[in-house]
Amino acid sequence: MEQLRTIGRELAMGSQGGWGQSKEFLDLVKSIGEARSKAEEDRIIARELEHLKRRLADPDVPRRKMKELLLRLVYAEMLGHDASFGHIHAVKMTHDESLPLKRTGYLAVALFLDERHDLVILVVNTIQKDLRSDNYLVVCAALTAACRLIGEEAIPAVLPQVVELLAHPKEAVRKKAVMALHRFYQRSSSSVSHLVSNFRKRLCDNDPGVMGATLCPLYDLILEEPNSYKDLVVSFVNILKQVVERRLPTSYDYHQIPAPFIQIKLLKILAVLGSGDKQASGHMYTVLGDIFRKGDTASNIGNAILYECICCISSIFPNPKMLEAAAETTSKFLKSDSHNLKYMGIDALGRLIKINPDIAEEHQLAVIDCLEDPDDTLKRKTFELLYKMTKSTNVEVIVDRMIEYMINITDHHYKTEIASRCVELAEQFAPSNQWFIQTMNKVFEHAGDLVNIRVAHNLMRLIAEGFGEEDEGADSQLRSSAVDSYLRIVGEPKLPSSFLQIICWVLGEYGTADGKYSASYIIGKLCDVAEAHLTDDTVKAYAISAIFKIFAFEIALGRKIDLLPECQTLVDELSASHSTDLQQRAYELQALLGLDKNAVESVMPADASCEDIEVDRNLSFLNSYVQQALENGASPYIPESERSGVISVGSYRSQEQQETSSHTLRFEAYEMPKPSLPLATSQTSMSTPTTDLVPVTEPGYYKEDHQTSKSQPPGDAVSGEFGVKLRLDGVQKKWGRPTYSSSTPSSLASSQQTTNGASHSDGGGSSSQPRESSYGSKRQQGTEVSAEKQRLAASLFGSAAAKADRKAQASRKTAKDSPSTEKVATTNVTAQPVKEQVIPAAPPPDLLDLGDEPVSSNPPSADPFSQLEGLLGPASAAPVLSGTPATSTSKAPDLMSIFSGDVPTGVASGSTDPTLGDVNSTSSHKGATAVASKKGPSLQDALQKDATARQVGVTPTGNNPNLFKDLLG
């Protein structure tokens, strides 16, 4: 132990340092020094802290002892232990009369606390008092503490005294008062702004120390607004001149250089003031020239001044003579052996080339030396310089160097920075596309995961689009060279994901374009990539898409190709992947293989990745289909915004919460089940559009009423009435005998809605039904209805709708082959009755027993729902109204149409209606079946999907590339 060896000496010295500590402290330090482990050290200090705690609280401890105790506490805290119990003692000690104690108290307080600490309020008063003290040391201690502890609110309390102290006879006090004022200015410039002129006054202080200290606040002020201090330029230049001419007391000399720190500060200030100001700069040239002439390059501090001088010259209005001197000094720095000086030289060069880029040329070799230096700090600085120096003429060398350096960096953050700089320079100055692509390849190879993915996409686009002005031949040459290089690289291990994506994409698009490589060769490579990166779904997706494209191109060319065994394995594996995206790609690939040439060509046109795709957002191509559906009696689509009871997905969560809390508060009535109503009934009901106005009494209509009450525009009195009635019904039922007629299957559905929480989408809802239905029937007995609850319900079902909507979308994606699902999917256009047809109806006759009724398997459970839909039919007969294309929005009373509008979209979107809930679940069932059916290959599907994938862009993993699929179909 180093310390122990000197401990004897220390003991011999006794209190030679002046403030000798007791033996206890010595022992503490010694035992800590001897501690063999961190744990042991911690134990020692914990013991010490216990001891200190006891002693500090002991009133009989002599005050001088207190000082030492507090210092030991500071020591313990410095070693990282909590000494917060002692903070109050430190505060107490600042009140002490005796100077050493007071100073120790202030020291501890300044180390322990900050301005936000609760105890500071106790100190502010003491500071205030001490600032008035006769003893200048007390004042100094108070000022030191004030710098640390006076926050914005406390500034006014001490400000007058501090300003007074600016004229204190002792220079040490003036100095500290200046700094305190500066500190206040930093904390809250507004509360001190009227006192800023004091700094100017202090600049003329007789004491050079005070003047030097004043430069600090002035520098900050000048940085903020240089223009209001232009008048000081002459003063600063004069001061600097005097300093350089050794007019200051020799005590300010440091290594035979007059007041170097003051010189440096002045140079910094002049650099700011002279920036872009020819007149101000004019005053400075002489003194700067003097400094260069007298410059002492032998000592460290002399170089510091010279460096600051260079900074100043590069900042002020340029003067050729000065620049020359600066360049000369810079070259001295660069040639020096000292790393520090080289570092400064590189930095200085970076500043100078901004003014005159030619200066760099003569230092090329020196710069290259720095690049090869083992010192990383210097290297980084040099790369910074190179980055600034890059032009189209030297970009190749510089970027190559940077990449070389980048490869070996381990620091993640810095590597990212260098990589992005490489990319930036390459994009900006690339001499040729060939070079650009090669460079980017290198960057991606070594830092691919650190580079913004956007860069990868840019590269792909560049390869695909070619380079505009050049002819096709050059483009294709470029592509084939890219393919060549990628085929070389692709086998290497540990390539970053984004680079592999590029490789796959390029190989897929252009691998076979020039006929150099056979399709099976490329496909083999791609299969290898996919196999080697089992965990990276994105890469696999890129690979399979690339294979897909190659097959498509081959087929389009009329060639016959066989599925390689490895490719087959890959496809099989992906078909069973957990990722539905990969699955789909695999199935699409299989589907493609069965298509004929023409179909493939239209699905996958060669080299069409850059073609713009026009997306028909209005889906106008569906118009005829819609029209037809409307003519057949479908209800028109109602935009979501105009739909009632639909709440945006955004508020979904809160709704869900409400949903759970509203558990017992069901108030809508449930529909009575009727023996299966075939499509016919619904159609007939459609023909009687007025039914919706009648129904109040009929339980079957409750839901509608409810719906209307919710959905109605505020002005609509009739529907409002409806709503009220509905509620009354609910209330009655709550306490009255359960009216079974109204409950029944619908209750079942509703229960599912609420109890399951958000589980409408739960495909296996059937299993939970028996339980829930009983639950539901109980609830269905009604509850008290309040407006609040109604709102609650609205939000509840709104959420359900939102979810359902999503579901519908999802199912739409996969639909296609099964007609029923397709209907769900395209619900916007299809009329519900059609759907009902599809589902075989099996009405549960006994509603009461529903609870006990074993509904074990999916299909039966689905049936009751369809039943309900049947019921819905007549109820929603109103929708027939909507058979006319007029939008429901215009007709407020046309509630039914709103309602019916909901149903299709929806999977029963917004409705509170239990039956609709059923629809929900049925549709989700269908969704499930649709998913299942999706597993089978479906050609059209696959092709469209791929087409869309291509449309969406080069990223096959785009969020939902299939959105347009149905529409395309």
């Binding site: 180093e2 403030w19 100073r103 030191t144 710098c147 200290a213 170097p260 440096i264 700090t377």
Partner: protein, 159 residues
């Protein structure tokens, strides 16, 4: 502005910590550790500037003297400020060693307070600093001799 002054032993023990922007005591050890990692990573031959954090250090005997600061300070000048600081220590302790610093860290604080206040350099003349530190010392001794009687005894007097 100077953010912090640290004296750290070669065994990573902090000997003096002074932060000019308040850092919670809990954070101190982390800062010391990360600074020490930087220090110990660089071989002696390379430059004393560590980029990014802008810190300058000197390795003297068993101690690292570290100044952490922002871009408004000149690196070389900071390096010399460390030199000034060490020279002052040497004058105050006559042949300063690590133990002097351990035992008298409060004196180091006094010295630093004379040199740097609120993160700004207020005095760069070692002579001036030594003079004022000696004066403080003298006055403290004076006052401590005049007010030596502990409270409990004083109370007895008053009774």
């Amino acid at each position: 502005m100077i953010q912090a002054v640290m004296v750290i032993s070669t065994q990573a023990k902090p000997r003096l910590l002074k932060f000019y922007n308040f850092q919670a005591p809990e954070k101190h050890q982390d800062l010391v550790r990360s600074v020490f990692q930087l220090l110990s990573a660089s071989p002696d031959s390379v430059s004393n500037f560590v980029k990014g954090t802008k810190m300058v250090y000197k390795h003297l005997a068993t101690l690292y003297f570290v100044f952490v600061f922002d871009s408004s300070e000149n690196e070389l000048a900071m390096l010399d400020l460390i030199q000034v600081f060490v020279e002052i220590l040497d004058r105050c302790f006559r042949n300063v060693c690590e133990l002097d610093i351990v035992f008298n860290f409060n004196k180091l604080h006094t010295i630093l307070d004379e040199m740097i206040l609120g993160g700004q350099v207020i005095e760069t003349s070692s002579e001036q600093v030594v003079k004022s530190v000696e004066e403080i010392e003298r006055l403290e001794k004076q006052s401590s001799t005049t007010s030596f009687i502990p409270k409990s005894i004083t109370e007895r007097f008053t009774r």
